[in-house]
């Protein structure tokens, strides 16, 4: 059946079965492949998108539940917090394989949007749902602090 979605500020109509995870609608139907499939059980965070500004695991979110919501993917990430985070990631060369990093960045933007100056402990708590098998965590932590510093001015 048809669903009307708002993705990255654009209205998009997609054909999907009710119960289809938002992840697969985004990736297979809308070809927005920056959002990644890692586990399918909301355990790794690679599929993190923003739904009305809140970091959300798209692999466990049904397409019917985001009608009327604002969905933002890594491709549509915009604004000063996003820029500070992405710049910090590049400045500190956080990435290795890079497959989890869209999700890491979506979560980091979520963290800094609600908590402009997180402690190490805040970061550990907030980011623990985002797995990185390359274990780039040390640099992710540092990059979040770096971005917080940039935003503080």
């Amino acid at each position: 059946m048809a669903f009307d979605l708002k993705i990255n500020g654009q209205n998009r109509q997609v054909e999907a079965e009710p119960g289809t995870p938002l992840l697969w609608v985004i990736r297979d139907e809308l070809d927005l492949t920056g959002t990644k499939f890692g586990c399918g059980v909301a355990s790794c965070g690679a599929c993190t998108v923003h739904v009305d500004g809140e970091p959300t695991r798209s692999c466990m979110t049904f397409v019917e539940d985001v009608q009327g919501s604002d969905v933002q993917t890594i491709e549509g990430l915009d604004g000063p917090v996003a820029k500070a985070v992405q710049d910090a990631w590049n400045e500190l060369d956080v990435v290795q394989c890079g497959y989890c990093q869209s999700g890491q960045i979506m979560s980091a933007v979520g963290l800094l949007s609600g908590n402009p100056k997180p402690s190490d402990e805040d970061i550990d708590d907030y980011m623990s749902g985002n797995a990185c098998r390359c274990a780039t965590y040390k640099r992710i932590r540092a990059a979040i602090h770096h971005a917080a510093g940039t935003l503080e001015g």
């Binding site: 990736r27 920056g34 690679a46 990631w89 590049n90 394989c97 890079g98 497959y99 098998r133 274990a135």
Partner: protein, 724 residues
């Protein structure tokens, strides 16, 4: 994989590749008509606007090849770092072989080691002919032509590379082009070069195979036997028919599984779960982990093979029996899954001349012939489009090219006309085998009245990774699979009365190299046992190791140096407050020397890993920041597995299925890591794997120091250690 001891054999089989270290000087040529750029050799492309594109022969799984190999050529050509582009090489074993393997592929932490001279020479050769071309164009002496920031200059004449590339492509470079002297290096050793793959991986634009979509593509998943070695007897897909987007399900011709076809990934996932299959388990693994462990321990009693030339168990036993004191320990290691972040997948599509495979392809030299054989093509008809790989840790370098072979089979079974995207779910990955083998070690050490080692009896049991594969003849000698004993059979500690035995565990469970291969267990057993001996002898662990390395050879010197550096930087000799403990471990692997000191804290009985101090000697540090990143990641990978990862079996069924039961290391587990690189002018060696081996034993030694508990079975969390 480690093939160090057998590299010569590999080279024999590929004399052409070896002598042409070299750059395939005959493959120059002007690019497609209409372009005024040129490919000056297999590794150097010049665009019409002068842009340098480096052709990278090793895939990028995060280890930094797109940065590292690009650095080497950009250095020789004096190009601004930010302007250099890169692309992955096509499948072509003649031009792009790994010079240490004699075939095109990445592994064994060899990407920089085998490419260093080749890529620098390719850059130097291109520089030479670009300068000559400019001299020709301007009718000046080549000696007057200089290059700065990618611009050729002579007097008041200036040109970018693109303006002389066509002329350059007609000039024959000298056989041994002169590379820069160390004093002139600007990019090699520069700690401030940004990663080449960083930007695309922070905005979602980087393309992994999972992101590839071609017109008319059908999605495919495979249902594998739930027990290793099982064969499909029948299946019922009735329930799958009600899944929207389900297309069909077909038994694979070898009865290894069922291919499920669908219109999208969600359809194949649901259909896969809805299909009921029956299997013949007559030849399958049906044992449980506790039985497998007991069988490994039993195999230690009578080693099948002597793993060193000097092994003499009778003499060793006599030496131990007549010693003042002795230490004895049994070590047990579980099967481990690699669990790269990107579940295994690839796309195969028909072309006019054959097929094209889009893959984060680690070993084109194996994948190309494998796909060709299944699809009835010649290897050269199989084109490989290498894209970014979302991690590997060894999993994608598979002698059977398992997931690519499944994609080729699924493609052929559908008639060979429809593009197929083969996707493994995370459950397929965790339960799909090619695990780090389970292993057991037994160590007995005699200590004389002066506190010195008198004899060391070491036995290992593990399933061989190499036996039965195409690599057997290279890696197995006199029955000993080097990858089962590496790190101990070739230890640089001067240990008198040393005997090493090996027995092969036999099982249908498939096994494979896992980041640092045999060193994953040998370093743990050896470095734990060294600490146990030092403690028994009343010696400081660092001092004791240095004494065992006092023989004066170059390896011992480099090991001693990294050990001293890590000890110094970690404040090894400074007293620790109550509730803290430090542990050290030292190991050489893949030609690199790494020492790690780990500090842990103990609060309410729970261990927290506070800090890791790492010292590494990997020869010339080409990209210091990439080296640091690989040490950080290699340490994290090793610590996570040591803390809590295991693949276990109940009656042949894998007990774990996804991250909730195979919990990866998380942000909150990650310690601070401080990496120190030893300056060097020796040829570079690997960094992708060598950070991993010392991490687990350094942690176990730190836990012993903090709690008094000596843990010799992994994972630690299942064997008496509570983590905060």
């Amino acid at each position: 994989m480690t093939i160090q001891t057998n590299r010569r054999n590999f080279l024999k089989g590929s004399a052409a590749a070896a002598t042409a270290l070299v750059i395939g000087l005959n493959s120059r040529g002007v690019l497609a008509a209409g372009s005024s750029g040129a490919q000056l050799n297999p590794f150097v492309k010049i665009g019409s606007d002068g842009t340098l594109t480096v052709v990278v022969k090793h895939f990028e799984m995060g280890q930094g090849t797109t940065t590292g190999l690009t650095t080497l050529i950009a250095e020789e050509l004096d190009v601004d770092w930010d302007s250099v582009k890169h692309e992955f090489a096509p499948a072509d074993g003649k031009k792009y072989a790994n010079l240490l393997f004699g075939a095109q592929g990445t592994g064994g932490s060899t990407a920089m080691a085998n490419s260093y001279k080749q890529y620098r020479q390719a850059g130097a050769a291109a520089r030479e002919i670009l300068i000559q071309a400019a001299a020709q164009k301007w009718n000046v002496d080549p000696e007057t032509v200089t290059i700065e920031s990618g611009i050729l200059t002579s007097g008041d004449k200036k040109a970018h590379f693109g303006e002389v590339a066509e002329i350059a492509s007609t000039i024959e470079p000298s056989k041994e082009p002169r590379i820069k002297g160390n004093a002139d290096l600007k990019l090699i050793g520069n700690p401030n070069l940004s990663r080449k793959d960083g930007y695309g991986k922070t905005n979602g634009s980087a393309q992994f195979a999972m992101d590839v979509k071609v017109p008319g593509m059908v999605y495919a998943a495979v249902i594998h036997s739930p027990k290793f070695g099982g064969k499909l007897t029948s299946f019922d897909a009735a329930e799958a028919k009600s899944v929207a987007g389900f297309i069909d399900a077909k038994a694979m011709p070898n009865n290894a599984g069922i291919v499920v076809y669908g219109k999208n990934t969600w359809a194949i996932k649901q259909a896969k779960d809805a299909i009921v299959a029956e299997w013949d388990f007559t030849q399958a693994e049906t044992r449980s982990s506790d039985i497998m462990i007991a069988e490994h321990l039993k195999l230690l009693e009578e080693p099948q093979y002597s793993a060193t030339k000097t092994t003499d168990f009778k003499a060793t036993t006599a030496a131990i029996d007549s010693s003042e004191q002795s230490v004895e320990a049994e070590f047990v290691f579980p099967f481990l899954a690699h669990a790269p972040m990107e579940p295994l997948n690839c796309v195969i599509e028909p072309t006019e001349t054959g097929v094209r495979v889009h893959d984060g392809c680690q070993f084109p030299g194996l994948t190309q012939p494998t796909v060709a054989a299944i699809t009835g093509l010649k290897p050269e008809q199989v084109e490989i489009n290498t894209v970014f790989a979302g991690g590997s840790f060894g999993r994608r370098a598979n002698p059977t090219s398992d997931y690519q072979a499944e994609a080729a089979m699924a493609f052929a079974m559908l008639g060979g006309k429809t593009p197929i995207k083969m996707v493994w779910m995370r459950e397929d990955d965790i339960q799909g085998g090619y695990f780090r083998p389970m292993a057991a070690h037994r160590v007995k050490v005699g200590i004389d009245d002066k506190g010195k080692i008198a004899g060391w009896d070491h036995r290992i049991a593990a399933k061989s990774i190499m036996k039965g594969t195409a690599l057997e003849s290279f890696a197995v000698h006199d029955g000993v699979d080097h990858s089962s004993v590496e790190g101990i059979s070739d230890t640089h500690y001067g240990i008198p009365g040393f005997s090493l035995g090996l027995s092969d565990f036999v099982s249908p469970v498939s096994v494979l190299w896992w980041r640092s291969v045999g060193h994953t267990h040998t370093a743990f057993a050896l470095e734990s046992a060294i600490d146990m001996v030092a403690e028994k002898a009343g010696r400081d662990p660092v001092e004791f190791r240095l004494e065992l390395l006092a023989g004066g050879d170059a390896d011992q010197q480099r090991l001693s140096d990294v050990l001293k550096l890590a000890a110094e930087k970690s404040g090894w000799d400074d007293p620790l407050p109550e509730g803290r403990g430090r542990g050290v471990a030292l190991h050489k692997s893949f030609g690199s020397y790494v020492a790690e000191v780990i500090e842990v804290s103990l609060n309410d009985g729970a261990i927290k890993i506070e800090k890791v101090t790492c010292a590494v000697d990997c020869g010339i540090p080409v990209n210091p920041d990439v080296i640091k990143a690989q040490m950080e990641g290699g340490i994290g990978y090793g610590l996570g597995a040591a803390m809590r990862n295991q693949i276990t079996f109940t009656d042949g069924l894998v007990d774990q299925d996804n991250f909730p039961t195979y919990e990866p290391i998380r942000m909150s587990d990650m310690p601070d890591i401080d990496v120190h690189i030893v300056p060097s002018t020796i040829a570079p060696t690997g960094v992708g794997e060598p950070g991993t081996p010392p991490s687990a034993p350094a942690l176990a030694n730190a836990i012993k120091a903090a709690t008094g508990l000596r843990v010799t079975r992994l994972p630690l969390a299942e064997n008496g250690v509570e983590f905060a």
